[in-house]
């Protein structure tokens, strides 16, 4: 039983790691916002930075736009996801989504934004499709479709990108609810399908999705790459403004960036608190859930939801197709529907020069996802045993720390950590780079795995223990193999989170390590869409490969285990 006793080490390690880094990150953000940044000669504490922040030209609009896009994108994505499940669970559309979910999810945000932008811009694919023969446009119309001052196009893009993520988390969580039985019982009592979902299933589903929803909120508020491409420009959303300040050659703007980051963090926390309060007060709906009405008022919007759900996938798929076309383009001018001249040159060059970065990406991603997996399973196991034995459960403290890196704007948080690492002379090493990825990999893996893992039928475990009596053996021979599918999926998620890291790679890696993402981001600061497309596709390929493995491998592994082939 020794393995079982020692598993409290896992949560302690995780809490320790996150405690130190979060503290460093927060102090490194807080001090400059209080006018303390000795290296540029600011050593007296004051609130002047905050006054500067609130009087910065356009700050009110920036905050308003951030609030609007953040809230409406989260609300839109979550409600669309719930309604979509309600209407389409189990039907053909749903099964089709299950198949194409992984490639859709593996599209990086920035790559999607570029493709999406090229699709709906006045000079984009949709208009080209009907020009000039129908519209008469020989030059693109001057329409404000992207970068609108309200952030509507950014909001739509965020909904499209977050919706599949929520669907994926839902698919994972549905396994633990007896969906079919509930549906059958509800049907037998004469309830419409939508009513069963709204009244019975979604309230039970919600706790499994809570953390993912918080992550979606945090992401929608602090998104930078998509906001630069699709969001308003003058003023931009707060997160973009923070990045601009942070990168301003005038050093004192860094203090403004810190204040802005804290304010953004505050906005995210307040929004999450609001969601939490809404959740707590959802009890007022209880009479409604029990009012016995079996008819659904939702039926009329069914086709709309089908349409919207399918559209999000359509847009994502087409964005990828656009990238493929651009990567093979030599010349592509308005109003040509397809390039007038193609070339393989950019692929040849791109593949050649991205070989080393891809290797670094693979190594960092696989190692950090593997360590993330060990820590996640270790913590969850500790949770299970502590609950069984009613001993001290360290895992209870984990959520407070684990999800903070997702809630704080990355740039200023990482800047604090960078300072700490440079002081300890630990920057520029691969190992610290990998650990910095772990800060973001681990929370997502936790989100992805914990619900399913904790719902594992303990009777199976107990039965095996009766037969074998070795905790480690049972864990590795019975439990983990049975959980192979969600484990591999969370591994793939962890890997793709690591692949996507730009700011940690630059700040902690001190420019010593180039990954495919640092290549993409630097080449995307230029203008050549053909080269950008090649790199973005290579970047996209890596997580896609991992997701595919996560799907294919269990099929092979379980080929002779009928009960596991779901």
């Amino acid at each position: 039983m020794s393995g079982q006793a020692k598993n409290s080490l896992f949560p302690v390690v995780v809490i320790g790691l996150f405690c130190i880094t979060i503290l460093a990150g927060l102090i490194g953000t807080l001090l400059p916002s209080l006018n303390y940044l000795p290296v540029i000669g600011h050593t007296s504490f004051s609130l002047s930075v905050w006054f500067d922040f609130f009087s910065y030209p356009g700050i009110q609009t920036a905050i308003r736009v951030t609030l609007f896009t953040g809230l409406s994108a989260s609300f839109g994505a979550v409600s669309l996801a719930f309604l979509f499940i309600t209407f389409s669970y189990g039907n053909r559309l749903w099964k089709f989504f299950e198949k194409i979910l992984s490639p859709v999810l593996s599209i990086p945000h920035a790559a999607f934004a570029i493709g999406f932008g090229f699709l709906i811009a006045p000079s984009g694919w949709l208009i080209r499709m009907v020009s000039p023969w129908m519209t008469g446009f020989t030059v693109p119309p001057d329409w404000l479709l992207l970068n609108d001052p309200f952030g509507i196009s950014l909001t739509i893009a965020l909904v499209i990108k977050e919706f599949p993520f929520l669907i994926m988390v839902t698919m994972g969580a549905l396994g633990q609810l007896d969906i079919k039985k509930t549906l059958l019982a509800g049907r037998a009592l004469g309830y419409k399908k939508e009513q069963i979902w709204l009244k019975l299933l979604i309230p039970r589903l919600y706790p499994h999705l809570r953390l993912s929803i918080f992550a979606v909120i945090a992401y929608s508020f602090s998104v930078v790459d998509m906001a630069i491409i699709l969001g308003p420009s003058s003023p931009p959303p707060l997160a973009v403004l923070i990045l601009k300040w942070f990168n301003d050659p005038v050093m004192s703007f860094k203090m403004l960036a810190s204040a802005g980051s804290l304010f953004l963090f505050f906005m995210v926390m307040v929004s999450i608190l609001c969601v939490y309060l809404i959740e707590k007060s959802a009890g007022v709906l209880r009479p409604w859930t029990a009012n016995g009405k079996r008819r659904s008022f939702l039926a009329p919007i069914k086709p709309i939801i089908f349409f919207m759900g399918s559209t999000t996938f359509f847009f994502t798929a087409v964005s990828s197709v656009i990238l493929v076309i651009w990567s093979l383009t030599w010349q592509w001018r308005f109003p040509d529907f397809l390039p007038s001249a193609g070339t393989l040159k950019f692929w040849e060059k791109g593949l050649e020069s991205s070989f080393d970065p891809v290797m670094t990406t693979l190594l960092t991603g696989i190692v950090s996802a593997f360590i993330g997996l060990v820590l996640t399973i270790g913590c969850l196991e500790h949770n299970v045993t502590a609950k069984q034995r009613r001993t001290r459960n360290y895992t209870n403290y984990i959520p407070y720390f684990l999800y903070l890196p997702l809630l704080v704007p990355q740039i200023s948080f990482m800047a604090g950590i960078q300072l700490l690492l440079v002081i300890m002379r630990m920057d520029g090493y691969w190992i610290t780079l990998m650990v910095s990825h772990l800060l973001f990999v681990l929370p997502y893996m936790f989100i992805a795995l914990s619900a399913t893992y904790l719902a594992f039928d303990s009777r199976v475990f107990d039965q095996a223990m009766l037969l074998k009596r070795s905790y480690i053996m049972v864990l590795f021979r019975v439990k983990l193999p049975m959980l192979l599918k969600p484990i591999l999926f969370s591994f793939a998620i962890g890997f793709s989170v690591s692949v996507a890291q730009y700011i940690p790679t630059m700040l902690v890696g001190a420019g010593r390590f180039s990954t495919i993402t640092t290549e993409v981001v630097s080449i995307a600061s230029g203008s050549d869409r053909r080269v950008i497309a090649v790199y973005a596709l290579i970047q996209q390929f890596l997580p896609m490969m991992m997701y595919s493995l996560a799907i294919i491998f269990p099929k092979i592994y379980y080929y002779n285990r009928k009960g596991m082939q779901v």
Binding site: V39, S233, S234, N247, V422, S525, S527, R530
Partner: protein, 400 residues
Amino acid sequence: MKSFFLILIGLAFLFLSGFSQAFAQEWGEIEEKAKGQTVYFNAWGGSQTINEYIQWAANAVQKKYNVHVIHVKATDISDVVSRILVEKAAGKNTNGSVDLMWINGENFKAMKENKLLYGPFSQKLPHYHLVDIENKKTLLYDFTTAVDNMESPWGMAQLVFSYNSNRVTNHPKTMLELLAFAKQNPGRFTYPSIPGFHGTTFIKQALFELIHDPGVLNNPVILSEFEKNTRPLWEYLDALHPFLWRKAKAFPTSASQMVSLLNDNEIFISFSFNPNSASNAIENGELPDTIRTYIHTGGTIGNAHFVGIPFNSSARVGAMVFANFLLSPEAQAKKADPRIWGDTTVLDTQKLAGKDKALFDAVPKGVATLTPKELGQGLPEPHVSWVQALEKKWLEKYSK
């Protein structure tokens, strides 16, 4: 008396030759010490043509001097400035992460003011004497900040407008004509958002052309007179904005986006900071071959870009060897070729002879590139203090 002078001259010669010998010796030592060093060259990585050029130069110094150069591709060099600042804050005075960086303007000023640069060093580079510091004042004053040999020249830049000759027959030649063009072609011109180097440059150019007394721009901005001096500029922008792309409700986020907009025919007139960039983009298919360039009568703002060595570089001598190679006629001529990069040389080609001169003579003129005579002498940058004042006012007026 005569013999005394002769002796004196002789002594002077001896001294000078000794001096130059010592100089050569010192450089020889530098090259010797640099052998085997790894130089992390941090430079913007947004252009494949530039990245390839840097890779070529890195391969060349590896072969010639056994110096290993690694191009660290930055999105924005100010990220790198921040990193060096953090290293200074943490007391990391040796073994810094950056050995050489591509830099100019505000970033140079910030680094110089915060003592983040090693130097002076550029005068030690043997190729530095070929640099045209006599005629190119911006090589001594980088955005009006004295260079003081704290960075080594790399290339020249000048604001040039580019237009699609398929769409524009008579391109404007002044800011006022640009306004007339915008009124005739609503939505077909724009400039990148502010703050940001390219957008600010457009504002500065407009100010140069519109201000009553351009002389005041050479001096630090006097805030009490700022309103009065810049009023023509704001009146101009107020008149221009309704006719800009998206009616000025959105601005491109970068100069790069301007290139895409020009390619997509969303705008007909764009601008860049490299007189050769249009030719280069035509060459590699990024822009249609109907793009041409022009500058405004009275000239456009010009400046230069440099490479600098951070104070805590652990490979200073290697960085100097690379900086010197970047100044070599071989590297400068290759860089000036619009098929390669098309970045204007900092060298005085008059000082070159023989093979070196032939290198430059062989550089073809880009199809959309203006002649040096047409480009003329670039206008000097306004005093650096104007930038913040202009950006602040712009944001207050147009970014609400």
